[in-house]
C-alpha cells in the first residue's frame, strides 16, 4: 500500500519521498521505498573480527540481518546505545540490512529540482554515494544512494566476487 501511494505521489507530482535522519550534526535523506521499518536497537549478536561499524546480527522475525552503525562508519556523532537509539531496516532488493542512526526526523517529498548536485568535498562519505544535496526549510540534507552504499565492497556486507569464487 505505502509503496503504491508513494509511487503515485511521485507519478503525480514528480516528487519522490525521502526519509531523513540525523547523524551527529548532519542530516541525511534516503529513498523511503528502501525502508522496511524503523525499530529500536536491541538484541544484537556480535560477530568477531569485523570492522567496528558492523555491530553484528539481529533476528528480524526469523531472518538474520546484519546491523551497521553509520555513526561509526562515517565517524560522525557519538556511538552511544540506549533506549533512544534507532535502527532503520533497509530492504535493498534481495537483502535486508539494519542501519543505526542518531535519530529519524521526517518524511519529505523532494522534486528533482530540489536535489542539487553535491560539490566535491572531503566528506566522510565518498561522493559517488551522494545523489545530491537538498534544502529543506533552511536545512540541508545529504541525499544518499543507500543501495549503492550498502552493496559497496567498502561496507564489506557481502562476500566479494573474488571471495565467492
Amino acid at each position: 500500500m505505502s509503496e503504491l501511494a508513494a509511487e503515485s505521489v511521485q507519478a503525480l507530482t514528480g516528487h519522490q519521498e525521502f526519509l531523513t535522519f540525523t547523524l551527529g550534526e548532519e542530516e541525511y535523506a534516503i529513498d523511503i521505498l528502501k525502508v522496511q521499518e524503523i525499530r529500536g536497537y536491541d538484541g544484537v549478536t556480535r560477530i568477531a573480527n569485523t570492522p567496528d561499524y558492523i555491530k553484528g546480527v539481529i533476528n528480524m522475525r526469523g531472518v538474520i540481518v546484519p546491523v551497521v552503525d553509520m555513526r561509526l562508519k562515517l565517524q560522525v556523532g557519538e556511538a552511544v546505545y540506549d533506549q533512544f537509539t534507532v535502527m532503520i531496516i533497509l530492504n535493498l532488493g534481495s537483502r535486508v540490512v539494519g542501519m543505526v542512526v542518531d535519530g529519524v526526523s521526517d518524511v519529505v517529498a523532494l522534486s528533482e529540482e530540489q536535489i542539487r548536485p553535491a560539490p566535491e568535498f572531503g566528506a566522510a562519505l565518498d561522493t559517488q554515494y551522494i545523489q545530491g544535496l537538498a534544502s529543506i526549510e533552511e536545512r540541508m540534507a545529504i541525499v544518499v544512494d543507500i543501495e549503492k552504499l550498502m552493496s559497496s565492497s567498502e561496507m564489506g556486507l557481502m562476500d566479494s566476487v573474488a571471495e565467492a569464487l
Partner: protein, 699 residues
C-alpha cells in the same frame, strides 16, 4: 467439439517415468532361477499402463514398443517362457529407450528409429522363444504377413451422433488417409460400418472416433485373411456379435478393469477394448497367438488382484520450496514458543496454572509438528541405492567382472537434500570399487576367493549421524603403491605414515595408482570430488582397507541439514552453539594439566594426550568472564585435524536449533558455519569446528 488431450500429456509422461522406474527396479531384482510371479505381473502391469496411456495420447511409437515388450512379458508371466539374462537385458534396453522416447515427446528431438525397430524385433523374437506346445494353436495366424490385415469398423452409437454435429465426410476422409476404405453399410440412423484395408494403427482409428462417440460405441476388428474365424471369435467385440450381448461383456470387463490400476483421466473407456483386444488388434504374430485364448483377461486379473500396494501410490507431488517454507515456519513457531515460555517463567505457577498447562501442551504439539514436518523432508536412502543394481550390472559386464551387489539398510531415512547430494559421490565410490577393488574372476579364483565379488552398500544410524558404507571384498588398497605414487607426485607425507594417513592419500587431487586409464576410472579425478562433496554436507570420510580382503569406505553424514543438535555455551555476553555430535567431553582442568609450548601455544594434557587449547574469547575477540582455563570449562571436540580443547566460560544447555544462513543478508564469517535464533529471540552463532581448527593452526 474436441478435447485438448495435450493438457494431460505431462501427467502421462510423469506416470510413465514412474512406471519405467518400477519396471527397472523389478527387473533388476528378478531372480532368474525362480522368478516371482508377482514381480512379473507387476512388470507387465507397468508396461501395460504405459502402453494404454501412450495409445490414448497418440504416442504410437511408445505404444508399439511397449506392446512388443508386453507380448514377451505376457508369456513370461504365464510361465510359457522362462526369463533369461538376454531377456532382462532387452527389457532394460527397452526401458532406456522408452525413457528417451518420452524425453523426445516432452522436449522434442530425434528418436533413433533403427534402434526402436531392432529392439522391437528382438523382443518379438524372444517372445517367440521356445514355443510351448499348448499355445501354438494357430499356425496360420502366426505366419500371416501383417500387410494383408484389414480392419472392420462398426459404429453403433446409442444416439444419432451425426444428427448432433459429427461429420460423415470428415470421418470418411480421415479413414481414407489411413488406408483403402470400403463403405460396407451407409449411414442409417447413426449406424455405419466400414472395412479399411491396409495396416493402420488401432490408436489412429480410435483417435478418429474419439471425437465422434464413446469408445464402446464403435468396434474395430482386425481381419486377417485366413485367420478371420479366430479374430471374430475373440471375446465378442466384433461385427457379428449381437448388440444385446455387449453390456454383459462390458460389465465383465469393467469388473476386471477395477483390479487394474486406474491410469489417468478418461482412459477407462478406451483401455477397455485395448486390454482385451490388444492381442488381436495389432498385427503381429506373437500377439495373435493370444487371441484364440478365451480368457486372457481373466488370468491377468487374477494376477493383478494380488498386487501389493506400494507407498508411492498414496503420495502427492509437492514442490521442495513449499516443504522448506513449512520447515521455516515451524522453526519460527518453536522459537516463538520458547520466547513465550521464557517471558511466562516469571509468573507464579500456582496462580497461573492454566497458562502453564497450555504452554506445556503447546510445547508438546509444536515438537510433534516439528518432527512431522521434518519427516516430510526425510526420504529412504533407497532413492540413491536404487540406482546401483543397474550401475553395478552395467559396469561389471563392461569390465568382465562378476560382481554382486548387496544392499543393507535401504529404508534408513535421511534428508532429501542430502540424498540428492549423495548420489554422485556414491556412484564414484561404487565405480572405483568395481574398477580397482574387485579383481577379475580369474584372479579371484587364483587367490581362493569366490569368482563373484561382492559390493555391499549399507546405511544406518549411528549416534546423531547416518553412516553410509561402501564395502568391497576385492584386493584392498596397496600401501606401497600408494606411497610410491605419492612420492612421485610430490604429495607431502610423513616419514612413517600410519595406514590411515596412507589411505587418505586416495582423496588427494589428481591421485591415481591405476595402471591404465579406463573410461570408468583411473584419471585421478573423482575421489577428491567425493571428499569435497562429503565435506560440503558436513560429513566425514573414513577409509579402512586390508590387502587381499577388501576396502571399506565409510561416509558419516549429519541426519539433516536444517536442524542441529547443539550445545549452547557462553563466552562473555555471547552465546555460541557447538554441534553436539562433535563434542567428546567437557571438563574443568586443573593447573597441572595445562602446559605451554614455547611460551606461546597452550596445550592441555588429558589422559595421555596433549590437545591444543583454544580460547574462544580470543578467537571471537570477546570480553570473557574467565581468562584462566581453570575457572572456566574445557570442551573437547573432534575435528578432521584431531581433537581440540575449547575454553569457554560456561555450558548452558543442550538444544535442537534451526540452522539459519548468515549469507542470505550478510556474508560468510570465519569460524562460524551459520546462526540460529535462541529462545530469547537473540541470534547465536554456530561454531564451525573444522574452520576453527584451521584458523588456529600455527602457520
Amino acid at each position: 467439439m474436441s478435447i485438448d488431450l495435450s493438457q494431460f500429456h505431462q501427467v502421462f509422461i510423469d506416470e510413465a517415468y514412474e512406471h519405467l522406474a518400477t519396471m527397472e527396479s523389478l527387473l533388476l531384482a528378478l531372480d532368474l532361477e525362480t522368478p516371482s510371479l508377482d514381480d512379473l505381473n507387476a512388470i507387465f502391469r507397468a508396461a501395460h499402463s504405459i502402453k494404454g496411456g501412450a495409445g490414448t495420447f497418440g504416442f504410437t511409437d511408445i505404444a508399439q514398443l511397449t506392446h512388443a515388450l508386453e507380448t514377451l512379458l505376457d508369456r513370461l508371466r504365464k510361465e510359457e517362457l522362462h526369463p533369461t539374462d538376454v531377456m532382462i537385458d532387452a527389457f532394460l534396453h527397452c526401458c532406456d529407450l522408452l525413457s528417451s522416447m518420452l524425453d523426445v515427446h516432452q522436449h522434442g528431438g530425434e528418436v533413433d528409429q533403427a534402434r526402436i525397430e531392432s529392439l522391437q524385433a528382438e523382443l518379438l523374437h524372444l517372445a517367440e522363444g521356445d514355443e510351448p506346445l499348448a499355445e501354438v494353436s494357430q499356425p496360420s495366424a502366426t505366419t500371416q504377413p501383417a500387410t494383408e490385415a484389414s480392419w472392420l469398423i462398426k459404429l453403433h452409437p446409442a444416439e444419432d451422433v451425426f444428427a448432433k454435429g459429427a461429420s460423415w465426410e470428415a470421418i470418411n476422409t480421415d479413414l481414407q488417409a489411413l488406408g483403402e476404405l470400403q463403405v460396407l453399410s451407409e449411414l442409417s440412423e447413426g449406424q455405419a460400418s466400414w472395412r479399411l484395408l491396409g495396416n493402420p494403427e488401432r490408436a489412429d482409428l480410435e483417435e478418429i472416433f474419439a471425437y465422434v462417440c464413446a469408445a464402446d460405441e464403435v468396434t474395430f476388428t482386425l481381419e486377417e485373411t485366413g485367420s478371420q474365424e479366430e479374430t471374430e471369435d475373440d471375446l465378442g467385440f466384433g461385427f457379428f456379435i449381437d448388440e444385446a450381448e455387449l453390456p454383459a461383456e462390458l460389465d465383465k470387463l469393467q469388473a476386471e478393469q477395477e483390479d487394474e490400476q486406474g491410469f489417468g483421466f478418461f482412459i477407462d473407456e478406451q483401455s477397455l477394448p485395448l486390454e482385451t483386444e490388444m492381442a488381436a488388434t495389432e498385427p503381429n504374430k506373437a500377439a495373435t497367438e493370444k487371441a484364440p485364448e478365451k480368457k486372457p483377461a481373466k488370468s491377468a486379473s487374477s494376477g493383478t488382484a494380488k498386487r501389493p500396494a506400494t507407498a508411492a501410490e498414496a503420495s502427492i507431488r509437492v514442490g521442495v520450496e513449499k516443504v522448506d517454507q513449512l520447515i521455516n515456519l515451524v522453526g519460527e513457531l518453536v522459537i516463538t514458543r520458547s520466547m513465550l515460555a521464557q517471558s511466562l517463567s516469571a509468573l507464579d505457577p500456582m496462580e497461573h496454572e492454566e497458562i502453564y498447562s497450555g504452554l506445556s501442551s503447546l510445547e508438546r504439539n509444536s515438537r510433534d509438528l516439528q518432527e512431522a514436518v521434518m519427516s516430510i523432508r526425510m526420504m529412504p536412502i533407497n532413492f540413491v541405492f536404487g540406482r546401483f543394481p543397474r550401475v553395478v550390472r552395467d559396469l561389471s559386464s563392461t569390465m568382465n567382472k562378476k560382481v554382486a551387489l548387496k544392499l543393507v539398510g535401504e529404508e534408513t531415512e535421511l534428508d532429501k537434500g542430502l540424498i540428492e547430494k549423495l548420489a554422485d559421490p556414491l556412484t564414484h565410490l561404487v565405480r572405483n570399487s568395481i574398477d580397482h577393488g574387485i579383481e577379475s574372476p580369474e584372479e579371484r579364483l587364483a587367490v581362493g576367493k569366490p569368482e563373484q565379488g561382492t559390493i555391499t552398500l549399507s546405511a544406518g544410524h549411528q549416534g546423531g549421524s547416518i553412516l553410509v558404507e561402501v564395502i568391497d571384498d576385492g584386493a584392498g588398497l596397496n600401501r606401497d603403491k600408494l606411497i610410491a605414487s605419492a612420492t612421485k607426485k610430490g604429495v607431502p607425507l610423513s616419514e612413517n605414515p600410519t595406514d590411515k594417513e596412507v589411505w587418505q592419500l586416495i582423496f588427494a587431487a589428481g591421485f591415481s595408482t591405476a595402471a591404465q586409464v579406463t573410461d570408468v576410472s583411473g584419471r585421478g579425478v573423482g575421489m577428491d570430488v567425493v571428499m569435497r562433496n562429503i565435506t560440503e554436507m558436513k560429513g566425514q570420510i573414513e577409509v579402512d582397507s586390508e590387502p587381499g580382503k577388501g576396502t571399506r569406505i565409510s561416509l558419516r553424514l549429519p541426519l539433516t541439514l536444517a536442524i542441529l543438535d547443539g550445545m549452547s555455551l557462553r563466552v562473555g555476553d555471547e552465546v555460541f552453539i557447538l554441534p553436539l555430535t562433535r563434542i567428546i567431553e567437557s571438563m574443568q582442568p586443573d593447573s597441572e594439566q595445562l602446559k605451554t609450548v614455547s611460551g606461546q601455544g597452550r596445550v592441555v594434557h588429558i589422559r595421555g594426550e596433549y590437545l591444543p587449547l583454544i580460547s574462544l574469547y580470543k578467537v571471537f575477540n570477546l570480553e570473557p568472564r574467565f581468562t584462566n582455563p581453570e575457572e572456566g570449562i574445557l570442551v573437547v571436540v573432534e575435528s578432521a585435524e584431531g581433537k581440540l580443547a575449547l575454553f569457554v566460560d560456561e555450558l548452558i544447555s543442550q538444544n535442537q536449533v534451526v540452522i539459519k544462513s548468515l549469507e542470505t543478508h550478510y556474508r560468510r564469517v570465519e569460524g562460524v558455519s551459520g546462526a540460529t535464533i535462541m529462545g530469547d529471540g537473540r541470534v547465536a552463532l554456530i561454531i564451525d569446528i573444522e574452520q576453527l581448527a584451521r584458523m588456529t593452526q600455527p602457520v
